[in-house]
Amino acid sequence: MKRRDFIRNTALTAAGVLGMPYILPTGRLFAASGARMVNHVVFCLFAGGIRNLESVQKAEGNLMRGLLNGNESITPDIANSIANLPAPVNAALQGSGTLFKQFRYLNGPSGHYNGHTTALTGRYTDNSLSLLERPPFPTLFELYRKHSTPDKSALNAWWISHTNELYPILNYSTYPGYGPLYGANQLSPTSFFSGPGYQAFGNPLQHNAATQLELEKMKTFLNGGFKGSGSASGSGISNPAEDQVKIMAFMDKMFQELAAGQHTNPWGLAPGVMNGDMRNVFYAEKVMQEFKPELMVVNMFGVDVCHNNFTNYCDNLRRADWAVNHLWNTIQNTPGMANDTVLIIAPEIGRNGTANSIKDQNGRGGLDHTTDDAMSRELFGMVLGPSGVVQQNKVVNTVYGESIDIVPTIAKVLGFDTELEVTLPGQFLQEAFV
């Protein structure tokens, strides 16, 4: 073959290969169009069980000045028993989006884990849901990672849970075809970045680049000669090596800041005010600033103290509200996420209409959340985002929106809704969007 013919044929073959339709693993031709509304979504599960009475209906005054407009004074007995908080860093967030005052958790047991699972899978649960097992249907994280184009690494999907018990397993499901391969990076920062955590994990053996390379070679050599069965990477999600290096560097940085006292009171609040919810949001902000994930879910839980202390419930509601306001401020001050992020806020369940027999320091009765109580199914919801995407300063007073609508809404916002292989029962929250 002449050289000129060879070059021509090679060029034609290359052009043909490049021009051929690419069949994706999902079976469709070409990549998804990915008509995204924004490139980042943060979902804040304002969890622990909140009644609309104390939130959007302001029965005890405006306890949520970070989210809700208004200066309604707080009921005197509560006001005298709660922490002194500075004014929120931003104006009330409802001005930056749409508030749903009659959101619903319509079906399934009104337990925290059920509520979380519903919010993260877009499906109601029933009594068969085991607290010790992963969700039976794909989570938001798996749907996002499996059906986004191009592929998304777990560095783009984070689940920041308030505790390292029970809730961490919500980062992926047992559903066939999904699972850890598409799960989120889960982190329970208040347990990990703590005094005991620092003692156990804060001072690892460090290697310079040359030694690290040598050790990697040794490991490869040893693994090459190993013929045992079973893989050690079978438990949990697994980041590629280069992403693990980034996560380790982030952890090292957090531990150094922790040891230097920079995490003791990072928001400059009065001593003792920063509670677990605030700390969880603080570390979610750190993850956000470091990795700028496209999808992050962070939860709070402090209001669940309401089972035995109504006054502290109101106090923790205020702190959680303050933290979410701070979160939005950080989003708007993080390059790459500012004006390109939708923040969705919703409790997972409500609480009962009538008090239990446990009285607090002010004689207020505690509140449980039982399945047969209608008020434990009444929530609020809020969607914030850029003015060209999200309806600003809008309030929906009628019954509109359910917990199961959050997953399909995020799917549409991030442009993978048309790629889903499973049918979701919920609806896109159209009322919130332009």
Binding site: F192, P196, L205, M218, N223, I237
Partner: protein
């Protein structure tokens, strides 16, 4: 008559003196000759406990185990957190380790001892040669670096 006499003598011999059998019970070191014989994956709890025992020569305390497991449960990427556990254990005071000088002076002895300690088997010739060369060629390598390499390998996750 002759047969009867022979039988009588035989019975007498058998019943007269019986050799006393002395049973000796001891544990001999058993080395697995090939890594391929390890087919069971250690559970994470087993892994942490065994890693601690291998490094410190004693059982991990409940308090320390709880601290490690709390961290383990706080991070979704288990391979990453296991690596962190190993690297943190390797700098704690009290681990049993050779000196760098001993390692450099007699790499073969160090390699044999290290493989027996962590892999519960003898190093094969190829491994002895490979690690011997690495130790000689990299004067900055510390014994704990070699421990780290072995503890990070797939074989160490199995028994």
């Amino acid at each position: 008559m002759k047969t009867l006499l022979s039988t009588f003598i035989l019975l007498l011999l058998l019943s007269s003196c019986k050799k006393e059998i002395e049973n000796v019970y001891a544990i001999d070191p058993v080395y697995v000759s090939q890594s391929g014989q390890k087919n069971n994956l250690k559970s994470d709890l087993q892994f942490v406990s065994i890693a601690y025992s291998d490094l410190f020569g004693q059982q991990i305390s409940v308090q320390e185990l709880n601290a490690l497991l709390a961290g383990y449960n706080s991070v979704g990427d288990k391979a990453l957190v296991i690596d962190l556990i190993i690297r943190n254990l390797l700098v704690k005071p009290g681990i049993i380790k050779s000196t760098q000088q001993d390692m450099q002076n007699d790499p073969d002895a160090f390699i044999d001892a290290t493989f027996e300690r962590f892999f519960v088997r003898e190093a094969n010739e190829m491994e002895r040669w490979y690690f011997g060369n690495s130790i000689k060629a990299n004067s900055q390598l510390l014994p704990e670096d070699i421990y780290y390499a072995l503890m990070s390998a797939e074989e160490y996750r199995h028994y």
